[in-house]
């Protein structure tokens, strides 16, 4: 039986979709069978970040409404063959995702995949609560910034109250993924430190993703960063986070792109 993971945050723009794609690809690269699901009905973007936007024929809502079978809607990644995407629809009907429909689809995917990763929409509305509903594990994506930390706190409260596991009296496994972290600014007292965020949210850390130009570059190309540039600092951070998710003990670090002086003076990058 596969593990169901929700990538959530409350606040928008903190890196849920980027992290879903990067972690999904990182896990799939190790041979694990992974499906990433876009729950952001009406504002889908996981397809774009994964470079599959022109291959969408059927979507999540089509499957729920019975217009398509699940295998017809799953898009297999062209680079990593154990990675699949279930895209959201662009319908404006917010009620298109139903509780029973989502339960059925997750129930069908769970035995066939090692990882079912649900990319939650921002907010605390229906889409977000449905995305977390069946999760065994939650990844709370947080920026070291007041509004993001506050929203994460709210989401952590919802994870402990509104998920299937919580309702059964079980504990949902929660991890914090700190993204867009700038160690220099934190050292100068301009940004909440890792310790600050951990103390405030008291949730164990899955990884620290450094702020990096490489993230935008990867989404511009439509390739998860862990595939497009696995040696870059953010990709190394995501690869480590994926290993921790699998239960491996990986020492926590903040990878950085230390470039030599020559490299800084001449040209940005070789590839």
């Amino acid at each position: 039986m596969g593990k169901v993971v929700v990538v959530t945050s409350g606040k928008g723009g903190v890196g849920k979709t980027t992290s879903t794609a990067a972690l999904g690809a990182a896990l799939a690269r190790t041979g694990q069978k992974v499906v990433v699901i876009d729950f952001d009905v009406g504002l889908r973007n996981l397809d774009l970040v994964m470079g599959a936007e022109r291959r969408v024929v059927f979507d999540f809502v089509n499957v729920i409404q019975g217009a398509a079978k699940l295998p017809q809607a799953l898009i297999r990644d062209k680079r990593v063959e154990t990675l699949y995407l279930l895209p959201a629809s662009q319908t404006r009907d917010k009620d298109a995702l139903t509780e029973q429909g989502v339960a059925r689809v997750i129930g069908e995917l769970r035995p066939k995949f090692d990882w079912v990763i649900c990319d939650s929409p921002a907010g605390i509305e229906r889409g977000a609560t449905l995305a977390m509903r069946h999760a065994d594990t939650a990844i709370v994506v947080t920026n070291p910034e007041v509004s993001s930390v506050r929203d994460s706190d709210r989401i952590i409260g919802l994870l402990d109250a509104k998920t299937e596991k919580a309702e059964k009296g079980e504990r949902i496994d929660k991890h914090l993924l700190l993204t867009r972290y700038d160690a220099n600014r934190a050292a100068r007292g301009e940004m909440l430190t890792i310790e600050d965020v951990l103390e405030i949210l008291s949730t164990p850390l899955l990884g620290i993703i450094p702020e990096s130009e490489e993230i935008l570059r990867a989404s511009n190309f439509g390739t998860p960063i862990t595939i497009s540039n696995p040696s870059s600092a953010p990709a190394r951070a995501y690869l480590d986070a994926a290993r921790r998710l699998k239960g491996e003990a990986v020492e926590m670090s903040i990878p950085s792109d230390k470039r030599g002086i020559l490299n800084k003076l001449f040209g940005r990058r070789a590839a």
Binding site: E145, V146, G189, E190, L192, I200
Partner: protein, 90 residues
């Protein structure tokens, strides 16, 4: 405040503001405490005094050690307003 040397670092301020706010928000557990308080306060007072719910303000000021609940009830001076409305004795 313009120059780097004299500028107070902002992260500790962020940290403290968040701690105070979240401690409060966790206690009320995301539910709308103010609205509930307001409804119940109005119900209790309306048993004894005629009042316009529009003129009841409930406010919470969050402090570090204690929070202050402020209830502001405007009672019209019209005749009979201060007389108990006919409800059974409490």
């Amino acid at each position: 405040m313009r120059f780097g040397l004299f500028r107070r670092s902002s992260a500790p301020v962020a940290r403290e503001r968040l701690q105070i706010l979240l401690e409060f928000e966790r206690r009320i557990d995301g539910s709308d405490l103010l609205a509930r308080l307001r409804d119940e306060i109005i119900a209790v007072i309306a048993k004894h005094v005629t009042l316009d719910p529009e003129n009841v303000r409930v406010k919470i000021d969050r402090g570090k050690a204690v929070s202050l609940l402020e209830v502001d009830v405007e009672i019209p001076n019209s005749p009979g307003a201060l007389h108990a409305t006919p409800t059974e004795a409490m």
